[in-house]
Symmetry: C2
Subunit: 398 residues, 2 copies
Amino acid sequence: MLQISQRGKTMPASPIRKLVPYAELAKKKGTKVYHLNIGQPDIETPKPLLDAVRNSDFKILEYSHSAGNESYRRKLVEYYQTAGISIDHNQIIVTTGGSEAISFGFFACFDAGDEVIIPEPFYANYTGFAVAANVVVRPVTSSIENGFALPPIHEFEKLINEKTKAIVICNPNNPTGYLYTRDEMEQLKALVVKHNLFLFSDEAYREFCYGGEHFSALNLTGAEQNVILMDTISKRYSACGGRLGALITRNQQVLDAVMKFAQARLSPPSFAQILAEAATELPADYFDNTKAEYLSRRDLLVQRLNAMPGVYCPVPGGAFYAMARLPIDDSDVFCQWMLESFSHNQQTVMLAPATGFYETPGLGKDEVRIAYVLNKEDLSRSMDLLEIALQQYPGRTV
Amino acid sequence: MLQISQRGKTMPASPIRKLVPYAELAKKKGTKVYHLNIGQPDIETPKPLLDAVRNSDFKILEYSHSAGNESYRRKLVEYYQTAGISIDHNQIIVTTGGSEAISFGFFACFDAGDEVIIPEPFYANYTGFAVAANVVVRPVTSSIENGFALPPIHEFEKLINEKTKAIVICNPNNPTGYLYTRDEMEQLKALVVKHNLFLFSDEAYREFCYGGEHFSALNLTGAEQNVILMDTISKRYSACGGRLGALITRNQQVLDAVMKFAQARLSPPSFAQILAEAATELPADYFDNTKAEYLSRRDLLVQRLNAMPGVYCPVPGGAFYAMARLPIDDSDVFCQWMLESFSHNQQTVMLAPATGFYETPGLGKDEVRIAYVLNKEDLSRSMDLLEIALQQYPGRTV
């Protein structure tokens, strides 16, 4: 018998995308689906970025340098400088989305059976990249009660053994929206330096911090060899379909190894590099406006959620996600029910069940991740729908 | 001590790209480098394809479906129909380049320690994808003496054990240009069916066959569950920088597993999907013209090579590569010497040492891969340079 791999069988389905077939069925029945399940913003990609691609005049769509065009990497250095991060263009490897930066980082740093510790709930696809690389994810649970703050360091230390190779964080966090404080970052630094671990820091949402200051892992003095930054243009410029990211580190051994994986896949996409190079020329107020928009959406969302009976949503400090606790028996069943069996005026909402963001089985059953990627009118209507759905849902617990 | 992974250390550098730093140095010294090392054609990307991107009028560069836009997959079905291959759009998963198709196929079908058999010399990056997936490559050596035809099936059977999961071929072949005959394909079918193996078939150069007919692995009756096709638009339309490929199989288990890896990385690049969808509308004579151009280049190249004392180059039946045996001691040393120490009228040629295409250590030391991706004038000048270089090279053997 032909058999697929154990890896292929173990690979989890994306909690963000696994309900897509139900959404497609709902749409075929004529139901409008508000997508709060996925981090696909409705904010327009800045026109100068799309124009840069549309006005390009080359005749051959060629491979680029495996690390990305040097001209783009030099512009990225300026972008990071503006963000308060000092790096050299040779410390940047441009990747196909942040996804590839994570994959390459894992391949370069981990062998089969190695372990990484990740505070849960965490970006579900980390598990996917870990499965691909045969790496074991050990979760440390953070709690909705304190807004998903960094768990105590001794909880990490309990899990550290000779197979532990790294801590992986996302800051500000997807799915919780939590923004790590400077003090929490320093605690993580002390931990990785003490135990000789890599610190993978996914900073895809760097620009979207509300209230607090973002502190990049690359600015942790004394952890220069430990820190590997994973980045992407997807959220920064609402350019998810470009598929352009970057892996950045000052660790030369890691850069050399990642470069070999980068060469094997030849190059990152060329069109997106043209777009992203143009992005570095955006006026300084671009992020101010985008951030203000997300902030007002966040406030609307959190206010509406916490006004619903039995619902609790801590105030996220960054990114554009919120985790909410709902009065439901099972978030997977509930989210599927919203698509299959519920509609109001031929409309419904798609959310991401939180179970897929927890590694520990059984956690997240009464939580969902909500991406506030739609304009306030749509967001408000989505909250109306959620409120009605919660009243009708047969598995309501409170 | 912080350590990178064994996988990162084992990962081979690309034989096609590892000499790039020497080429960059040569260029900085003012030397023109003719690039015959890499499959980057100088043929223009068809204008309607670039225009499709330049005239696109969307406002948000969104994620696409993880399997690629349905509209594109439906057009691909028509393309394959024209190529004599019958498949359904649900049997196609659009990938980021052919590279990702190979990676996802390996992840879905192989576990750490599994073995695949590949006739060598083979596309060097297969080793890279195998290292990433912790898969062991077992080579069966093909020979320049018979133009790199398929080795006898009993040579494959000698290597088959309980860990063997697949045979991987590239047809027409990169780096040898060999075009497998219908009879050879049937032999491979019998082998994979008998031993329950997957047959991975990389058909990136399907359109470029000279003399013989291309026979796709997808047309092997009785091996529907075994065959996994890896494809790309890179060479077909001279659109290497788009980074768009596809994995195609009729094996539902494999499709389901690959889809989970595809979802983890969210989506393939959006711009390239617009370009590739337009490509399916190209007039039928597009490939005739491109093929005629490559054919005339091949003839020029093979004639020039075989006219050089001590040089032998079999006539390739497809793709746009030739493997040549040169009167040299070490192809790695020679190719580096061409960039570092040789120039004629401030010009030199970059070739790919064949050693990187052989898995067996020691093979390929007197062979190089030459990509005939430059116009005939440049190709002819490159052959002048190679001829002069061979006369001057201190490690000349004959």
